[in-house]
């Protein structure tokens, strides 16, 4: 936590004094289960985009293009609402093992 501000450098009262600071808070590390998107099954119906609480469904030109793992907390709502089962939830440990 060495790069965090000291007590006398912060706004009082826990107030956040500018908007959009959540961008700086990468919540992807909270994830236990990772959503895996299967492009071949996806119909870009936007159900996942509509339900994602962390704005982590990446859309370009009206098409679903992937998942933003920097912010995705792995809640699984996208997989649950997908009508064509184009998203699977896989344990993060699996990717940890693969990385090793």
């Amino acid at each position: 936590m060495a790069d965090l501000k000291k007590w006398h450098e912060l706004p009082i009262g826990g107030v956040i004094d500018k908007p959009a600071t959540a961008l700086a808070y990468k919540t992807g590390s909270w994830r236990v289960m990772r959503p895996i998107w299967h492009e071949d099954k996806c119909t870009s119906c936007m159900m996942c985009w509509l339900h994602c609480p962390d704005n982590s469904i990446v859309v370009k030109g009206g098409k679903m293009t992937g998942i933003d793992y920097e912010y995705c907390k792995g809640c699984g709502v996208c997989a649950s609402v997908c009508p064509v089962k184009a998203i699977d939830m896989e344990p993060e440990t699996k990717f940890l093992e693969e990385a090793e």
């Binding site: 501000k5 009082i12 009262g13 826990g14």
Partner: protein, 391 residues
């Protein structure tokens, strides 16, 4: 000095008048004995068009404090008032008001906390909030309740402080007792308190802010340290505010009041209305040649340790009177005084008496009894005495 009005008022009416003169943007409150007359009087002022406050009658004290917190975060000047179980029901939001650094001023009319249920005076309600981060004043009479409400507001809103303030007055004894009270002219109060200049405001759309976000292990500790620093700042700001108040009112305040302490060997320490009775007993004992005096604390939080040390170092004995108990530990005021005297070069004998719980009468003979124990060297070191209890 200007011409002021002296009226026969209860403590409740005096404080309601202070609120009328402050003219807060928002008052949210719920009735509870013995606080009720403060908001009754204030509601009448609003209904009569004497003050332009948004008065919100809420469904509970938890809601009252929540509404006031919301209003204060929006940048408004917001007040409420309560007693006893009402304060206890606010408890969660009392902490939040201090943590969000909202300068809310709340008259508290002290009453015993249930159970068993009791509507009369003791300090158990406010003592349960002593670690909440609020500045706490105690007053001896209706005049002080009025004055410290005005002083409290200016202190709370000072840019270096930004803390909420409780002004404690003893239930019924002060809140319902009629006394002569000098009210300052309305325009003088308006100019003394000025306009609130919020550090952050939810209504300032040019500078959007977030109040009350999640604050985890990486920042929460730093914000608590800021609250500790703000309490330390009170000792710098309060003397300036009371000096300014003295210029307009002629009445002098400090963290503590020293009554006949110059050559006193035996000093009683107390809070609230009982100090008036103690002063009478001090006068009687002085006539009998006894070197006794009183140290009254106007301020309990932050605890004015340096002033306490200045007045108590070198005394033969110190008698501390508490109108509340901390079950299984030393009484609140006694514990503070004893701790403040730890570094004293000569240790006075310190005695602790609990008195007046649930409105039990405290009589001059009880106070005399405690002073005599001090004079005779009979104080129970590390012991607990009781005044007015059937033992």
């Amino acid at each position: 000095m200007v011409e002021t009005k002296k009226l026969a008022l209860t403590g409740a009416e005096a404080v309601a008048n202070a609120m009328r003169q402050i003219a807060p943007d928002v008052v949210a409150a719920y009735p509870i004995t013995p606080q009720t007359p403060i908001v009754e009087y204030f509601s009448k002022f609003v209904a009569d068009g004497l003050v332009d406050t948004e008065l919100i009658p809420v469904e509970s004290e938890h809601s009252a404090m929540s509404a006031v917190v919301g209003a204060a975060a929006a940048g408004a000047r917001a007040m409420t008032a309560t007693s006893a179980n009402g304060l206890a029901l606010m408890h969660e939001i009392v902490y939040i008001a201090a943590s969000l650094r909202l300068p809310i001023v709340m008259p508290v009319v002290n009453r015993a906390l249930s159970g068993p249920i009791n509507i009369h005076c003791d300090h158990s309600d406010t003592m349960a909030e002593r670690d909440s981060g609020w500045v706490q004043f105690f007053v001896e009479n209706a005049q002080e309740a009025y004055d410290l409400t005005l002083i409290g507001l200016k202190l709370a809103e000072h840019p270096d402080v930004q803390l909420p303030v409780m002004v404690n007055q003893d239930g019924f004894i002060i809140s319902h007792g009629v006394e002569p009270v000098e009210l300052l002219p309305d325009d003088m109060v308006r100019s003394f308190v000025g306009e609130r200049e919020p550090v952050y405001s939810l209504l300032d759309v040019e500078n959007p802010v977030t109040f009350g976000p999640l604050d985890l292990y990486d920042y929460y500790f730093e914000h608590k340290r800021q609250q500790i620093a703000a309490m330390e700042k009170v000792f710098e700001v309060f003397p300036k505010v009371v000096e300014e108040f003295e210029k307009i009112s002629g009445r002098r305040y400090a963290c503590v009041e020293a009554y006949r302490l110059d050559d006193a060997e035996h000093v009683m320490v107390a809070l609230g209305s009982t100090c008036g009775t103690i002063k009478d007993v001090v006068d009687e004992l002085r006539e009998e040649g006894k070197k006794v005096g009183l140290l009254k604390l106007w301020m309990f939080r932050p605890f004015p340790k340096e002033q306490v040390q200045r007045y108590l170092y070198g005394r033969k004995s110190v008698v501390v009177l508490d109108r509340s108990a901390s079950f299984g530990a030393e009484a609140p005021l006694y514990a503070e005084i004893k701790s403040a005297l730890y570094e004293s070069p000569t240790k006075p004998l310190i005695g602790s008496y609990i008195y007046g719980l649930g409105g039990r009468e405290i009589l001059p003979r009880h106070i005399r009894q405690a002073f005599e124990a001090a004079i005779n060297g009979d104080l129970l070191a590390d012991g607990q005495g009781y005044l007015g209890l059937r033992e």
